[in-house]
Amino acid sequence: MALGLHGMSVHFGEKTVLSEVDLKVPDGEVLALLGPSGCGKSTLLRAVAGLERLQAGMVCWNDRDLAPVPVHERGFGMVFQDGQLFPHRDVAGNVGFALAMRGADRRRRAERVAELLALVGLGGYERRRVTDLSGGEAQRVALARALAGDPRMLLLDEPLSALDRALRDQLAVDLAGLLARARATTIVVTHDHDEAFTLADRVAVMADGRVVQVDTPSRLWQRPADERVARFLGCSTIVPASLHESREGRDTIATCVLGSVAVAENGADAAASTVRLGLRAGGLRAVAGNDDDRAPIVRQRLHRHDHVRLVLDVPEMGEVEAVAPTGTAPHVGDHATLTLDPNGVAIISDG
């Protein structure tokens, strides 16, 4: 077990920002940290790095308490949410900082800096002033800087948030490859669910200073621990449902007022016959037309880049979100027929 957090609490004055966090990150694992704004993600990373005073608990590395190990000896690389580039050093001076601290020689340093800058798409930026960089450029320099020290653990606080989608996707893939090769244990804070999937072996969801669920990405999306997690992960509609086996006995079928859908059942609690379903917009597909008078009516219609998002009024249920393909989406005021899409359906296991 590379990193272990045991009952870790951090207060700022009166305010409890982290309370009794327990978390384990095995060697080489990439853990994504998700949670609403202000829930304590950055504070958790800072505490792991040794930058915050713990009110209680421990940060362990390979089961040894890190309390006596000062920040600079932990060998943990960090990308701060707001970069924190050194304004008095140029790009190369920033990226090469960790190497300089280790006394790497000038040539070795220059090589490695060039390599890392190329990786983040900033080849040739060595002599640029960091205060003249665009937001995205600065963020990439911060990423390169943290990687330069070959840290045994990486703490990344939204390392790609200022990048455009294309670059972000590419860097996420590059980063994933790099992390896998380096077997660096990693915690990465991200607001981008796809990024969490691309990068992470497991995802931890925080709320109000606590870790409320840790799971593999797919399991997390399919089985959020409670309604709050489900809503945080995009389930805008929560409905009760009953589970039963499909006729062929291969699948588990969940049935709710909106219809039935096959859900991936991971054995265990198939027994529980009533559950709640969390439906993401993509979990409900709408097609125009429904003869039933009491059919859902489209109230709102928003274009997304590859689909249309609808808000429909479902009698006796209220408003639900659904999606439709761009070409054939029903219009506001239309009656629509809803079908459940297994990819957008989660089973909430607490209930």
Binding site: R46, A49, G50, L51, E52, R53, L54, Q55, L66, A67, P68, V69, P70, V71, H72, E73, R74, G75, F76, G77, M78, F80, D82, Q84, F86, P87, H88, R89, D90, A92, G93, N94, G96, F97, A98, A100, M101, R102, R106, R129, T131, R145, A146, A148, G149, L155
Partner: protein, 538 residues
């Protein structure tokens, strides 16, 4: 509770040792002598002196003229600070040096220059002259302390104020000014202290009738040996200074915030719109500062019968009939040597103190900070006479040691170093240090790779200014320097106290020389450029 590990360890020991050394120096070379000399007077009629109505008037005038001078220096210094920090100008180093020059001018010379302009017959006009002369000396403090800090402020915070509807002036008032507050506070405290202990200016321009605590302490101590009266006044001076410092620290109760510091040259650009007005005001201030300077230069080459270089020629000698034990040039080299010693001692003490002040808890920092400022607020005479009655008790009679001069000067320079460096150190975002620590920098490396480079500009500025202060220091130096180790200000005073054209001529030439040496020293010290790999001069 578990401390973040980067804030403990050897570093804490270092802080303790540094604090002890600095406070130890302060105790031996300041507190002990002052307490001893005041102690000698405590037996006498302290209360009588307190109760005299003239004492209240003295306190009132002292604080009043100091406050007025400080306000004038601030008003005149801020536009210059703006220009030095923000305006693209060729040869700014020269302007910075020129602004600094008044600081070293012997007060008697400046006093005489102002006397020539002002009819100092009436008390009112003398008071105005005193205030202006005090301000003349101290515009440099404001322009440099505030300007140095200002040049590192991120202009984009002002930008955002502008987009929110603030005019340039409003943005300055509501965003820039609060950010500058620590530097302005520093400058205000220093200037106020200098002005409340203003001696030569008050004597010359007050014509003997306007008196301050400082002149009165001097007379009572030096001429009358009225130690009890002097002690009473010294106690009043001390408490006035402590009160003023306390009020100042109360006023800046609001925590200094971490700021986004930028490279000094980033915010520089051509002035726009109303900024031209500020530039205009700054130019007038500069002209006003330069007038006496040019006047002195002209005076140094004009004799009874037209232009002459006799004064400069005389510099290689020791004055008419050997008025001096040293030649002008020897005095220059003595001045430079003494000031260099004082500067390195003060830099050492000031930097150690600054590190301590940013490392310890706020409360103790405030107290130590104030203690380090006190030497500026105590009469040089009190300290000098204090040395007389204490320092022989140390091994090797320091009273007659040539080392004492740089020590005494360092006492004055150290608070200036702290006041220049500390605001910058406090403005460094602590998260930069965090970032460095996560990249493998231990507490020492953090200091050397983050704090030092970020504060380097102001460290150099402090060294430059400290050097200048030491060059110009007269009060303590004249007490302690031996005739064969006289510095330029001492030599100038000496020459002025003798009749004869050649002595006067040489005095003015020495004055000009002092100004030139000062300007060159400032330019040299501050143009120290550091550029190691990836670290730019800040």
């Amino acid at each position: 509770m578990i401390d973040p590990p980067n804030r403990v360890g050897g570093h804490r020991l270092f802080v303790a040792v540094a604090a002890t050394s600095v406070l130890g120096f302060l105790a031996v070379f300041f507190a002990w002598p002052v307490v001893a000399i005041i102690g000698l007077g405590v037996g006498g009629d302290l209360l009588g002196t307190f109760a005299e109505p003239s004492t209240a008037r003295l306190v009132g005038f002292t604080l009043g003229q100091a406050a007025a001078s400080t306000v004038v220096a601030l008003l005149a210094g801020m536009p210059l600070a703006f220009v030095l920090a923000r305006v693209a100008l060729p040869g700014k180093a020269v302007i910075r040096a020129l602004v600094t020059v008044p600081f070293v001018l012997p007060t008697i010379v400046v006093g005489m220059a102002f006397r020539a302009v002002f009819d100092v017959d009436g008390a009112a006009s003398s008071a105005v002259a005193i205030v202006l002369a005090n301000a003349f000396f101290n515009v440099a403090v404001v322009a440099r302390t505030v300007g140095g800090f200002w040049s590192h402020l991120d202009r984009r915070v002002e930008d955002s104020a502008r987009t929110l509807g603030a005019s340039g002036l409003r943005a300055f008032r509501s965003v820039t000014l609060p950010a500058l507050a620590p530097a302005i506070g520093s400058a205000t405290a220093v200037v106020f202290l200098f002005c409340s202990t203003s001696f030569g200016v008050v004597l010359v321009l007050g014509g003997g009738s306007l008196r301050t605590l400082e002149t009165e302490i001097y007379l009572r101590t030096v001429e009358l040996l009225d130690l009890s009266g002097a002690a009473a006044l010294s106690l009043i001076q001390l408490s006035a200074v402590v009160t003023a410092l306390g009020l100042a620290s109360f006023a800046r109760k609001r925590r200094e915030s971490a700021l986004r510091l930028r490279r000094a040259d980033e915010a520089i650009r051509a002035p726009r719109g109303r900024e031209w007005w500020v530039v205009g005001v700054a130019a007038s201030v500069l002209a006003a500062l330069l007038t006496p300077i040019l006047g002195l230069l002209v005076r140094s080459v004009s004799g009874r019968n037209g232009w002459t270089f006799d004064g400069y020629r005389a510099l290689s000698g020791t004055g008419a009939d050997g008025t001096l034990e040293v030649s002008g040039w020897e005095a220059v080299s003595q001045s430079l040597r003494t000031a260099a010693d004082a500067t390195w001692i003060a830099m050492l003490l000031g930097l150690l103190a600054s590190i301590v002040l940013v490392s310890v808890r706020r409360r103790s920092a405030e107290a130590m900070d104030a203690a380090l400022m006190l030497p500026l607020g105590v009469s040089a005479v009190t300290i000098g006479f204090g040395y007389l009655v204490t320092l022989h008790l140390l091994p090797g009679d320091l009273r007659t040691s040539p080392l004492l001069v740089p020590f005494a000067q360092a006492l004055v320079v150290t608070p200036l170093v702290i006041r220049t460096v500390l605001p910058v150190l406090r403005a460094i975002d602590p998260r930069l240090r965090d970032a460095a620590a996560t990249l493998g920098a231990g507490p020492w490396r953090v200091r050397s790779a983050i704090d030092l480079p970020l504060a380097l500009r102001s460290v150099c500025a402090a060294a430059g200014f400290g050097f200048v202060v030491a060059l110009g220091e007269f009060g303590a130096t004249s007490f302690l320097a031996r005739p064969d180790t006289a510095t330029l200000p001492v030599v100038i005073a000496r020459l002025l106290s003798r009749p004869g054209e050649s002595n006067l001529q040489m005095a003015y030439a020495a004055c000009s020389l002092l100004m030139v040496v000062t300007a060159l020293a400032v330019i040299a010290i501050e143009s120290v450029r550091v550029r190691t790999h990836g670290v730019e001069e800040f």
